[in-house]
Symmetry: C2
Subunit: 201 residues, 2 copies
């Protein structure tokens, strides 16, 4: 076990490769992402990444983890910037979710689109992913009836905001030109506002 500090040749190749991968992703979408290009950007031979990731899927996983970190930041910042009400916080994470998607659609795609369609719950040892989920869970908690499964409310919120984010990114239903505040976003938030006002299941 090494202490993950500065290593032999390259300073911190693993990090450099992840960063290069994110850059490629944001520049040219998922198709532009390749191990060899990442290696070239990091100034290293094309086979070097194999020693840091389990192939291309491994690099994508690492990029997705980075994405979940940024994703968590968007949500917590949105929470901090908004009103401190249970219901306002629910709206805030949705706003954070959408803004993350708009700013980092490539990351979103990698996080949710490739390794299975909707990876979210803390089933893995993935620290970053679990953190994002815990934010969702804690914000949803006040709306979970006593003794009920928290997943119910979480699924309602996640379905709505994830679905809408994809919709918005696709530019459909009049989402292209209108500012976020108008557009169907407010209507979706109106549904969010109704969560927990009746038996949920």
């Amino acid at each position: 076990m090494t202490t993950a500090k500065t290593r032999h040749h390259h300073g911190d190749l693993k990090r450099a490769l992840i960063r290069a991968g994110i850059d490629l992703l944001e520049e040219g979408g998922l198709e532009a992402l390749s191990l060899r290009k990442c290696a070239a950007r990091a100034g290293v031979s094309h086979a070097a990444p194999a020693h840091h990731f389990a192939g291309l899927p491994g690099l994508i996983t690492a990029i997705a983890e980075e994405g979940f970190d940024i994703f968590s930041k968007y949500m917590t910042e949105a929470i901090d910037a908004g009103e401190q009400t249970d219901r306002a916080r629910l709206r805030s994470i949705c706003r954070g979710y959408l803004q993350f998607g708009l700013g980092h659609s490539g990351l979103l795609k990698v996080m949710f689109g490739e390794h299975g369609l909707g990876v979210h719950a803390p089933r893995s040892d993935n620290r970053e992913e679990a953190e994002a989920y815990l934010i969702l869970r804690s914000v949803c908690a006040p709306f979970v009836p006593e003794g009920e499964d928290p997943h119910i409310v979480e699924a309602q919120v996640w379905s709505l905001i994830h679905g809408f984010t994809l919709l918005y990114l696709g530019g459909e239903f009049g989402c292209t030109d209108a500012p976020i505040e108008d557009s169907p976003f407010e209507a979706v938030m109106a549904l969010i506002d109704r969560i927990g006002t009746q038996a949920t299941g």
Copy 2:
């Protein structure tokens, strides 16, 4: 302009390639889909597909169109099988949507996941896609307040059911083992039931 009937060498290569592509997709996911493998399955040389599709993206587009056809069938069949109430029809297309996703996750991925994240509205000359959208539109219509933009209600429905379908496919929030009827599906339908019961925007 040819009449698209039986041609020179192969009977109907274009169709055969699409079918091979769908098979590959359902067998091994998106990564297993390649032009060369489709050609091999159709018993044809590796460069033949180029004359029928604009490269791999073109083949994927054709597969997606086929997917939209099947998708439409799922929704109309669900409508026909259910109660004939405005609100029951709304639930029915959601059920059809989910069942399509469960049965054809590869197609769903290709339809919505690759060519942009959420392609849905009839912005294109794509007949199949437009048909699916028209079903959604007609079922949503009764819940659109007079003089309001139909997109609002459509976005609410689409966000919920598309988001939930991805969630379910990902096996998160207790969606793996439970039957559809339990699980968060009913809770999501409860939100669908609340669409149009108040100002939507």
